[in-house]
């Protein structure tokens, strides 16, 4: 017993389990680094741990905004880093490394199952002897979700990942935030800018985690209010109220700090390094403030959402509220039924899950044509072969010369460029009017694709004129060219170039 109190006594402390769990969050990353040696590129030493943290960071940076990071974006970002580490290796290898890292964070090897580790839980029995039991710690780091608006898959970091990155410790969000503010103010006084920047970064991560907590609660509320009802009755109203005042305070504090930093910037005798650091921190704080403002909006609406959902869901049929138990409630019983009896419910599921179809009305003219048409070879029932082409493309409505001229022009001007610059050079080169139109249409298509008609043709045309990966965005500037009106779009060869343009433009603006 006396030995235990000196050597192993710490295991009985309350915070001990938390520390063990915090340490575990790093294990998937460590395991991935271990297994890297067994990959094809294992001989070349890439720093998997750094890449993994960079991936989580990249995901968190955009989490909760309109354009969250997709799998491919994360991979291409990491591939750039990998290329920086070993420029002598092939691009394919860099991409393979990047893929490996992101896949490891998603746990794709185990079909995206949560990481699961066994932990020992020690306790003391009444008689003072040591008790041991085995618990399981389960968590995810990255998860993939469908972005409803864009129809692509985006990555999100779990709370566990955010916390592991922040410092591996479970803090109360608000207290931690207050602590950071305090620290930042002090560090600024002492001129410890390097640390102050780190603190500001952590403050941003905490804001994101905070927003995530709220998002989960509201999503659960919208989904089925009954699962969170006890929470709403007891903790949530108080929590929301506290959060709201807290956020208001934070917004005030952060703008005060921002002012403070700007003061440091404006002071005539500021050292250049200090000025640079405080400019960076100011940008960071600005980002924090945006996050807070957004969060504040969500908070203000939270109660309304609750009331609306309560009203809406109270009229929903009870059966629709609970999630079905497909495996034990449906699948296995169905298989055990007699075949002729099982048809009915099995078919019901297929029909209802399919979501319906629009019945086609036969037109007499079509019917006659169909009846007179030569017989087709019967093969519609096969699953499509991936390499199959769907017939010849439609003849282009735009003459190939015009397309070629437009593509050459874009090439000469060079991307990224303003739409107005492209149009000006088209005019200067005395090209037919269609060239201008094609360029504008291609840019518009890339900016906001319409699904009304002939999609593949439009995609091909835009790709031919602007390049396959071209990305287009607007920044509010208006076009001033006679004959055209609207936003002066920015056309770049790919998303990355576009974001570089945006960064440069931001810097110029500030």
């Amino acid at each position: 017993m006396s030995d235990l109190s000196t050597v192993g006594g710490a295991v009985f402390e309350e915070s001990f389990g938390d520390r063990v769990r915090a340490l575990l969050r790093a294990r998937p990353v460590a395991d991935a680094a271990d297994n890297a040696a067994r990959q094809m590129w294992g001989g070349c030493e890439y720093d998997v741990v750094t890449l993994a943290l960079a991936a989580i960071d990249a995901v968190i940076a955009k989490q909760g905004f309109d354009h969250e990071v997709t799998y491919d974006e994360a991979v291409s970002g990491l591939a750039v880093l990998a290329a920086g580490a070993h420029p002598e290796r092939s691009i394919d290898e860099h991409v393979a490394v990047a893929r490996y890292v992101v896949d490891a964070l998603l746990n794709r090897k185990e079909r995206e199952a949560p990481f699961s580790y066994q932990v020992s839980i020690f306790g003391r029995a009444d008689d003072g002897s040591v008790r041991h039991r085995v618990g399981t710690a389960e968590f995810r780091l990255l998860t993939e979700h469908e972005d409803h608006r864009r129809g692509v898959n985006v990555l999100r970091a779990s709370t566990d990942a955010i916390n592991a990155l922040v410092g591996g410790l479970e803090f109360d969000v608000e207290d931690e935030q207050a602590a950071i503010e305090l620290m930042l103010a002090r560090q600024l006084e002492r001129g410890a800018f390097g640390q102050a920047e780190k603190a500001a970064e952590r403050s941003l991560l905490l804001s994101i985690r905070y927003a995530d907590e709220l998002r989960t609660l509201l999503a659960d509320t919208v989904r089925d209010i009954r699962t969170v009802l006890p929470q709403w009755v007891r903790e949530v109203p108080e929590q929301l109220e506290r959060n709201r005042t807290h956020l208001e305070e934070r917004l005030a504090t952060e703008s005060r700090l921002l002012g403070h930093l700007r003061g440091a910037l404006d002071a005539p005798d500021t050292e250049p390094e200090v000025a640079k650091a405080s400019a960076r921190i100011a940008a960071l704080l600005e980002k924090c403030r945006q996050r807070h403002t957004e969060l504040h909006g969500k908070l203000v609406n939270a109660r309304t959402i609750f009331l609306d959902e309560q009203a809406r869901q109270s009229f929903r049929p009870v059966g629709g509220l609970r999630n079905p138990d497909i495996m034990d409630g449906l699948f296995l019983p169905l298989l055990a039924l007699r075949a002729d009896v099982a048809v009915e419910p099995a078919e019901a599921f297929a029909v209802l899950v399919s979501g319906g179809q629009v019945p086609r009305v036969v037109r007499v003219a079509d019917l006659v044509d169909d009846l007179l048409a030569p017989r087709r070879a019967p093969s519609p029932e096969d699953p499509p072969v991936p390499d199959e082409e769907l017939g010849d493309p439609d003849p282009p409505a735009i003459p190939p010369e015009v397309l070629g001229a437009a593509a050459r022009l874009v090439n000469e001007v060079g991307l990224p460029a303003r739409l107005s610059d492209l149009l000006l050079s088209a005019r200067a080169a005395d090209l037919p009017e269609e060239v201008e139109q094609v360029i504008v249409l291609a840019a518009l298509w890339k900016y906001a694709p319409e699904t009304a008609q002939a999609v593949s043709t439009a995609v091909d045309t835009a790709a031919r004129v602007l390049g396959a990966a071209a990305a287009v965005d607007a920044d509010g500037a208006r076009i001033t060219l006679p004959g055209w009106s609207g936003d002066d779009l920015i056309v770049a060869q790919d998303e990355e170039a576009l974001s570089r343009w945006a960064t440069v433009a931001d810097r110029d603006a500030s």
């Binding site: 699948f331 099995a346 297929a350």
Partner: protein
């Protein structure tokens, strides 16, 4: 305030959009406008819901994904399984149904799984293995219990798992006598219905189940099929078997 004729036309436009599952509000500004009106304007919402009620359909979800409609079987919009190629007889209908349920059971094994909106992937091979293993389990228990010989799982178990050349012309094709044919068939159909999409980057015949599948299965199909099953258990079944 009552709805004008213009508003009623908008109701029609919105329902028209909802009936095209591949349309996204993100890509269509009119759809987007009408969808946010549906979410904000109670009167408009009631009008849409009532019209849908008359068409034997209901709104299951009104997120950024668009209006997801649940269509009851008696509706004109209901899918008829027999419209699928090669699906005529009872056995084929049973197979399509069983494979659909199996996909849901494989991707969402517990009720809580429906609350998690992370992306689910399935492949033809994985599903075949999953169904085959389940059949094996049934086989082991039935050997002891000596059940009847026409349970639903035997219908699947009788199918061969591999490719089977279909009259031997052209490429290796699957014949409807193989189980993978039916799994691929159902998944391709789900792609057409915007419930899944093929993910060739992840391997041959891998599919991503889309959010729409999760909503349809969780909000409507699962419980409705369960109710049908419960009705059979309660006695409909006995009456049908021994009239």
């Amino acid at each position: 305030m009552t709805l004008s004729q213009r508003d009623l036309a908008d109701v029609g436009v919105l329902i028209g959009c909802a009936l095209r599952p591949k349309m996204r509000p993100g890509a269509d500004s009119e759809y987007r406008t009408l969808l946010s009106r549906y979410r904000a304007d109670v009167e408009f919402r009631n009008a849409v819901d009532s019209v849908l009620e008359g068409l034997d359909a209901q709104v299951l979800s009104d997120s950024d994904l668009g209006l997801v409609l649940g269509v009851r079987r008696e509706s004109v919009f209901a899918y008829r399984i027999s419209d699928l190629p090669n699906v005529g007889g009872v056995t084929e209908r049973l197979l399509v149904g069983l494979v659909s349920v199996a996909i849901a059971a494989y991707a969402f094994p517990t009720p809580a799984d429906f609350d998690d909106d992370r992306v689910r992937w399935v492949s033809v091979d994985e599903l075949e293995r999953f169904l085959r293993e389940t059949c094996e389990r049934f086989k082991r228990t039935s050997e002891q219990a000596q059940g009847s010989l026409d349970e639903a799982w035997r219908t699947y178990d009788r199918l061969s798992p591999g490719y089977k050349a279909d009259r031997g012309k052209g490429k290796a094709r699957r014949s409807p006598a193989s189980s993978t044919y039916w799994i691929a068939h159902v998944l391709t159909w789900m792609v057409d219905q915007a419930l899944a999409r093929s993910a060739p980057a992840r391997g041959p015949e891998v599919f991503q189940l889309l959010e729409r599948f999760r909503i349809q299965a969780a909000e409507l199909a699962g419980n409705a099929a369960y109710d049908a099953l419960a009705a059979i258990r309660r006695g409909d079944h006995d009456r049908r078997v021994a009239p």
